[in-house]
């Protein structure tokens, strides 16, 4: 995917030079390995900052919310789906966007690599499907497919669903992916075990809200967790408060979450927060045969009433 960088720069330069956009939202290299950061490029002579590799896991649609300028945005599959969500929810105007589509081959999980490498990592370079890690220990080479982010490993929409131009040919989508193995595992547990599973999952949560902040869906002017009149949820790290935050956050994403993995990626303590959202994704798929973010012209199921909507849960 490294060759995408040149193309992204070329397209961005042209867009900015021709004043087609006021800025381009893309990625630049971060200060630590495997942590690229979002960047806003407003000047054609700054496009050299833009890069693309397997560390662009943050969801850039998050930076579009409510913007009125003309924007060029670099979008991989999941970003493009969240752009669609933004369009459906009137958070951005399609006419203001120039979507630079990036056919994605998956992002790598810096935690996985950190764990298997075991020493401090100083530099990570990509060579096709290989990831070369340099650091305090010996240089190691890993297969990219073994160190993919979990959501990327089961992704079935790698290609952007909406775009104005592409940086490369579309990639082949992954087929025969079992998206819900982990959800089924939890579903098969008895209630006490389920409770204990989530208790264990959340025990390290420090309520920093990074997961919420990274999510393009979480754009309410005042989030329910920040509200103090009334206070919907306690602000402590009492397990009850933490759990309340997490399950309500997930409910707010029901039928909207694209499983982009940004929430999980940004968590400083490595909590698999997708364990909540994926259950809802699975339910929406099973109950309404719905996948979010594929078509800006269709209203999502929780937004419309249909007489054949399932209602077995209501007495």
């Amino acid at each position: 995917m490294l060759e995408y960088t040149e193309k992204i720069r070329e397209i961005s330069q042209k867009l900015l030079k021709d004043s087609k956009v006021d800025m381009v939202i893309g990625f630049r290299k971060g200060t630590v390995p495997m942590m690229n950061e979002p960047t806003f490029i407003r000047n054609a002579n700054e496009v050299g900052q833009l890069i693309w590799d397997s560390n662009c896991g943050i969801n850039l649609a998050n930076y579009l919310t409510g913007r009125k300028e003309k924007i060029g945005i670099v979008a991989k599959g999941c970003d493009s789906r969240n752009i669609v969500v933004h369009l459906v929810e009137n958070k951005v105007n399609r006419d203001n966007l120039h979507i630079i589509g990036v056919p994605c081959k998956g992002m790598i999980d810096r935690r996985k690599i950190g764990v298997i490498y075991g020493e401090e990592i100083l530099n990570v370079v990509e060579d096709g499907e290989k990831i070369v890690v340099e650091g305090d220990g010996d240089e190691k080479v890993y297969d990219k497919k073994d160190v993919l982010q979990e959501n990327c490993a089961i992704c079935i929409h790698r290609n952007p669903v909406i775009y104005d131009e592409l940086v490369a040919d579309l990639v082949e989508e992954q087929k025969d992916v079992d998206r819900y193995e982990d959800v089924r595992k939890i579903e098969s547990m008895p209630p006490d075990e389920k409770w204990a599973y989530f208790e264990g999952l959340l025990k390290n949560c420090i309520r920093c809200y990074a997961c919420r902040n990274a999510c393009p869906l979480c754009y309410c002017p005042t989030c329910f967790v920040d509200e103090s009149r009334p206070q919907w949820v306690g602000k402590s790290i009492d397990p009850v408060d933490t759990r309340t935050f997490h399950f309500l956050r997930a409910y707010h994403c029901a039928g909207r979450c694209t499983d982009c993995g940004a929430c999980e990626r940004v968590c400083p303590v490595g909590i698999n927060v997708r364990a909540f959202t994926k259950k809802l994704e699975k339910d929406v798929k099973e109950l309404y045969d719905w996948e979010i973010g594929l078509d800006p012209n269709v209203r999502p199921p929780l937004d419309v009433y249909k007489t054949q909507d399932p209602e077995d849960f209501i007495k």
């Binding site: 389920k194 989530f198 259950k279 209501i314």
Partner: protein
């Protein structure tokens, strides 16, 4: 909610019009019975913060 460990039956939903008094009574009875058979709740109980 059940997915994260709340016992099935503890959380119930119903739609009852203000004119459906018999349904209301029936549902209240059913809910009370189910909850009684489940016993006291174990989850989402917040104890007072202990202050020294």
């Amino acid at each position: 909610m059940e997915h994260m460990g709340i016992e099935p039956g503890r959380l119930q939903f119903s739609w009852i019009s203000s004119a459906e008094s018999t349904k209301f009574v029936k549902v209240v009875k059913e809910v009370t019975e189910t909850i009684k058979s489940l016993g006291p709740r174990k989850h989402f109980i917040k104890t007072e913060a202990k202050v020294a």
